[in-house]
């Protein structure tokens, strides 16, 4: 039927987004439940790495191999919360989660 076609398109577009968003919720929000904290992370990554590709790569590298040197957070923050453990997620799942995080928190979308 003709009127089914737009619905299919919307579903096809939304399914991957929701998958990435789900992956982010499922794997990240358990610990990073404070929205402001996630905004601060994004703000720091944006300030240092600028583009989506570089931000996602920097987050990926940090989560895979966290260290004081590769962290974007200030010394005080690291002293208080410490360095996180390396992720146990596989690469695909991790990339989906990072992408979901970027899509939800990138600054670009809020500029008016």
């Amino acid at each position: 039927m003709c009127y089914n076609k737009p619905i299919k398109i919307v579903l096809i577009t939304l399914i991957p987004v929701s998958i990435w968003a789900n992956s982010f919720k499922k794997n990240c929000l358990n610990c990073h439940f404070q929205q402001m904290q996630l905004q601060i992370f994004m703000s720091k990554y944006t300030l240092k790495y600028s583009s989506q590709e570089r931000i996602e790569k920097a987050i990926y590298d940090y989560i895979k191999n966290p260290s004081k040197e590769t962290s974007v957070m200030p010394f005080g923050f690291l002293r208080r919360f410490g360095i996180k453990e390396p992720t146990t997620l596989d690469d695909i799942e991790l990339k989906k989660a990072i992408n979901g995080y970027y899509k939800q928190y990138n600054l670009k979308q809020f500029i008016k």
């Binding site: 944006t46 300030l47 600028s50 583009s51 570089r54 990138n106 600054l107 670009k108 500029i111 008016k112």
Partner: protein, 384 residues
Amino acid sequence: MSSAERKSIINVLVLYLTSTILLVSILAYSYYNYETEQIEIQEKRVMIEDAKEVFTKIQTLHNNQFLQLIYPRFKEFNSAIYDIDKYLIYSTINDTKIDFSKSIYSKDGYKYFIYEVKPYYLGSAYIVIERKNESLLTQLGIKIIMLSVFIIFIIIITSIFLVRLILKPIRDNLNLLDRFIKDTTHELNTPISTILTNIELIDSANLDLKVEKKFNRIKTASLTISNIYEDLVFLVLNHSVSSQNVDVDINTIVKQRVDYFNILFESKNIKVSIIENDNFILNIDNKKITRVIDNLISNAIKYTKKSTNINIIIEKNNFKICDQGDGMTAMQISKIFERYTRFDDTQGGFGIGYNIVYTIVKEYNLNIDINSIIDEGTCVTISQ
């Protein structure tokens, strides 16, 4: 203004103006380049200030992002921010196709300036400023062109004045000469008429050989004087006497004039051949064509070598007088029609013969053609 004077003015003007225009162009070009550079530096400075203003605003936005992220907008210019991979973050510019290979460029009446920044507030690594081209360069170009035209105009006026000033002594001399000729002609009228009338009255048949020889010399000399006198009269009265044009048979008039100059031919042992291939009829004032033929024949007599031939060839539409003289160079031929031009000081005359011929020939739209070979001779052709 005589043609020689006009020529001198034109020559000086061309030379003076070419060099001046060249100089003015170089100066204008250098000035334009210098001013362009200054304008560009000034524009760049203004756009750097714009970019810094945008940077400060986005820095504030980034640091207070928990409030609303409202991109700064300005009246005087538009701006856009791009991330490090040159993807657009936000823009108030209409044209988003930015050329990142240049730091400053113009497109469609707008000037674009790309300013690199770090750290990347709101992710922006490049701030692009768009300002309307204020057409300062066009205004400058118009200003320079107008100034150059004004300078060149002043130089033209100055050079004409200068040339006239330089030529004034020459012009005064020529006027003096003209006045002298006029006065002389007036004074010569009576004595020449008396000499010529009395010569005609003397019966040469009754003279003995010795006296006849002397008498012939006097006749030759008086003929020459008469010819010069006629030239001077033409020169003085040409403008005040109206032409009476009739159909003149050139063949007849040539024969008459050759006959008239016969004694001069004999004095240099010159043989004259008139070759009549056809009849040439010309509608012209009788006195004027006589001046043309007399001058051409008398010049041929003057410059041909002793014991040579003068050939006069008459065709349907032209006649030609050829001597066997020293000939002339192309340079001499180019100057021959100028008044008071003489190439050989050993021969008499004022240097007005060819000038008179040229004046008459031009008046009747005839053509005059001079072919000359050095050491062989000269042929002058008058054609319709």
